[in-house]
């Protein structure tokens, strides 16, 4: 049983030791080290040791700081989305889809907006897969339509319609100026407007998404960094069970 209150662990319980590194726009020297010390203190690191600093160009200094942080973590206050469904093997996913839908489950996926990074969607959809798990194309009872990169919102809505998609997967890697959030919101609104209740399941994924963001994005489920194809496939089964 984990204790409710914990502190970071360096080499002894409760020592609170952390390591941080950062750059300040201050020329290298004793004053810069003092500034780093002050910042660390304000971050709750006290005592703080500036163990390393070096100049980057004329006006900047890079620091490595070790020290004991005085904050305490209350595990009871930690809120995360716990996986709300059981993990299934590809065989289990296939057999459930076959039995309950009596046809293939259709998944349409792509990177929307100007995002050209297909690495995320490909890791989930391509047969090659990710982290040793095969992608959704490998599942016999899933039919996968991967639209690739830079798909417009109208395009994905149209394609989801013509393919009679059960689920739409979008990946967003680029986060500059919140593009990932705005794009996904635009997509979920478009599906609601075009298809209403008959809209497919909407799933968004990307390294900068937090599963807690689903309501804000207007989608059914959000997957963050490190998600594997098996988790997505298991979720699809779970979500159709809810629908049926």
């Amino acid at each position: 049983m984990t204790k409710r209150h914990v502190r970071p662990y360096g080499d002894a319980t409760g020592d609170g030791m952390v390591q941080v590194s950062f750059t300040l726009p201050v020329p290298h020297g004793p004053r810069a080290d003092g500034a780093a010390q002050q910042l660390a203190n304000k971050m709750g690191i006290d005592p703080a040791m500036v163990v390393h600093s070096h100049a980057i160009g004329d006006g900047f200094t890079f620091f490595v700081v070790y020290g004991s942080v005085n904050h305490i973590v209350d595990l009871d206050e930690v809120k995360v989305v716990e996986r709300e469904y059981p993990l299934l093997s590809p065989a289990e996913v296939n057999s459930y889809v076959k039995k309950s839908l009596r046809r293939k489950l259709i998944v349409v996926g792509g990177c929307i907006g100007t995002d050209a990074h297909t690495v995320g969607i490909d890791a989930i959809l391509n047969i090659k897969g990710f982290a040793g798990e095969k992608g959704l194309e490998y599942y016999r009872e899933l039919r996968v339509v991967n639209l690739g990169a830079q798909v417009t919102v109208p395009e994905i809505v149209k394609r989801a319609r013509t393919e009679k998609a059960d689920a739409v997967l979008v990946s967003q890697v680029v986060t500059q100026r919140d593009a990932h959030i705005l794009n996904t919101q635009e997509m979920s609104a478009a599906f609601r407007e075009a298809m209403g209740e008959r809209r497919p399941l909407m799933i968004a994924g990307g390294p900068r998404f937090d599963p807690l963001m689903a309501p804000e994005l207007g989608v059914d489920r959000v997957f963050g960094r490190g998600t594997t194809p098996g988790e997505v496939a298991s979720y699809l089964v779970h979500a159709i069970k809810e629908k049926v």
């Binding site: 590194s21 950062f22 750059t23 980057i56 160009g57 900047f60 890079f62 100007t114 995002d115 050209a116 297909t118 690495v119 490909d122 391509n126 047969i127 090659k128 690739g148 990169a149 830079q150 680029v174 500059q176 100026r177 593009a179 390294p207 960094r225």
Partner: protein, 524 residues
């Protein structure tokens, strides 16, 4: 000196098969033109600027002209004949004035015949020759600056990326990167530019994850790096991207503004941007002829295959692509010293002997292409948020690069896949390279892989697999192989993809003085 003892007969077979696989594609490329090739031709002839009154935003004049020519009389005969004929018939002085009149609906384009056609072709040639002489002057100027200021003292050259979205901020970052040790500065383009069917105009400040490639941005960066070159005592090379739907135009603009390197791959657009295969091969051929003229080193994109396919299983597809890139480049007039063939350090670090395999693959590229300035790309696929492990991996990448004599080293960032590089990330990354260069820069003198040892065997195996694959591609046809997902697992049929409608079959009377002058080297 050969370390791998590659069989010259096998190497010759590989090259012969690559040439055979490429041949039908070269024929297709010669038989077609594209809207982008025609626009590039007119840009050489001096057309600049954009229509700022259009409601869709700034549309470059060259797009207005080429689109209108196509509407009125088609592009089967090229844009030069109708454009220079219209110039003469309407008694207009410059192409930009012609573009304005075109936008106002005052110009009717037709394909001239007889004496009018000969006059138009001649006038077009004179204008294009002026553009090409500018490119030639830039090339001479680069050579002069290199003689005066000097090349980097070491190999590999250190290649760093900036990607702020704002050209003014890029200049600051680039200058600081050069002072920190970068020999080559690449300005990453804004996400999505590769799919724009026009080149934006002017200095830009609002890109996404990169900065728009424009003629003015090229000029600003080159001018700034000329200053920094003098300060740091070595010629800082500037790189951009001739890929996507505007390959030929970017190539022209790079030549006009003395860029030094260009990303330019024969298949990247097809595979990773879903651009139509024919469009890509036609555009590629023109753009490479342009780079050859400008003395621009191309960087090919084989590293990309390994980000989607497995770096061990697909190692031979890199070799095949390098051989194809080499052939297409030679065919377009690029000599070996301008061939920055790419490859990457992308093997899963959890695999046993992963580093030995990396050495084998890197040495294979080195020995297959002894005169090419090979571009060595850092790990990305197996970089995670664990920046400490990433930094170590980058160190091994640097070591492999030094040990196998790579020519251009793109500096890996430990924050790859986390953030766009911070000031400190770049600083730590360059320190990593410097340590390896300093500690082991000449280790290649002592590095002789055991005959019939692991590295030698692995290299032979990959070359053998490459020959087998080339054999299949020759049987199947390169376009079919691309359609079947041979490279990077992407399937791209030849009649699909973005930019398909910009491809035009040439008519018998097609005229393009630029292509002719690029082929013959003529200056008038």
């Amino acid at each position: 000196m050969s370390l791998l003892d590659l069989d010259p007969k096998v190497v010759a077979t590989a090259r012969r098969l690559a040439a055979k696989a490429a041949e039908p594609v070269v024929d297709i490329a010669k038989a077609h033109t594209t809207v982008a090739v025609e626009r590039a031709t007119l840009r050489l002839a001096g057309i600049t600027g954009a229509d700022t009154t259009h409601r869709a935003g700034d549309i470059p004049w060259v797009n207005r002209v080429v689109d209108t020519v196509r509407e009125h009389c088609g592009l089967e005969h090229g844009a030069v004949l109708p454009v220079f004929d219209a110039l003469a018939r309407n008694d207009i002085g410059t192409l930009t004035e012609l573009a304005e009149a075109t936008a106002a609906g005052q110009i009717q384009y037709t394909v001239p015949t007889g004496a009018a056609a000969r006059r138009a072709a001649k006038a077009g040639r004179v204008a294009i020759a002026r553009g090409l002489r500018q490119v030639d002057r830039n090339r001479a100027q680069r050579d002069k600056l290199i003689t005066k200021i000097g090349d980097p003292p070491q190999r590999p050259w250190i290649y760093l990326i900036v990607a702020t979205g704002d050209i003014d901020e890029d200049v600051v970052q680039a200058a600081s990167a050069a002072r920190a040790g970068a020999d080559i500065i690449a300005v990453i383009r804004s996400t999505g530019q590769s799919l724009l069917d026009y080149v934006p105009e002017g200095a830009t400040h609002h890109g996404f994850a990169g900065t728009y490639a424009t003629q003015e941005n090229f000029r600003i960066m080159r001018a700034a790096m000329d200053e920094v070159s003098k300060e740091v005592g070595r010629y800082i090379r500037v790189t951009n991207y001739a890929s996507g739907l505007c390959m030929p135009e970017i190539a022209v603009l790079g030549g006009l503004e003395r860029l030094d390197m260009m990303l330019n791959d024969c298949m990247y657009g097809i595979l990773f941007r879903d651009i139509n295969p024919i469009r890509t091969f036609v555009d590629q051929r023109f753009s490479r002829a342009m780079h050859a003229r400008a003395g621009i080193i191309i960087n090919t994109g084989e590293d990309n295959y390994l980000t989607t396919a497995d770096a061990v299983e697909a190692a031979h597809t890199v070799t095949v692509s390098q051989l194809l890139n080499e052939h297409f480049a030679h065919e377009a007039g690029l000599p070996n010293e301008l061939l920055g063939l790419g490859h990457a350090f992308e093997i899963n670090p959890d695999l046993p002997e992963s580093f030995r395999m990396e050495l084998a693959h890197a040495l294979l590229a080195r020995e297959l292409f002894p005169e090419a300035p090979l571009k060595w790309m850092p790990p990305t696929k197996h970089m995670t948020g664990d920046v400490f492990r990433g930094h170590l991996l980058d160190g091994f990448f640097n070591l492999a690069g030094v040990l196998t004599g790579q020519s251009i080293l793109l500096v890996g960032m430990m924050t790859e896949a986390v953030v766009t590089p911070w000031l400190s990330d770049r600083d730590l990354a360059v320190a990593n390279v410097r340590y390896v260069l300093n500690a082991a820069g000449n280790l290649s003198e002592d590095f002789v892989p055991a005959r019939d040892g692991y590295i030698v065997k692995r290299a032979h195996q990959v070359l053998g697999e490459a020959v087998d694959l080339l054999d299949r591609i020759v049987d199947d046809g390169l376009l079919n192989a691309i359609g079947d997902g041979t490279f990077g697992l992407m399937k791209r049929p030849q009649d699909k993809g973005k930019g398909t409608d910009g491809v035009v079959s040439k008519a018998d009377g097609y005229v393009n003085p630029a292509i002719e002058m690029l082929e013959t080297g003529a200056t008038k």
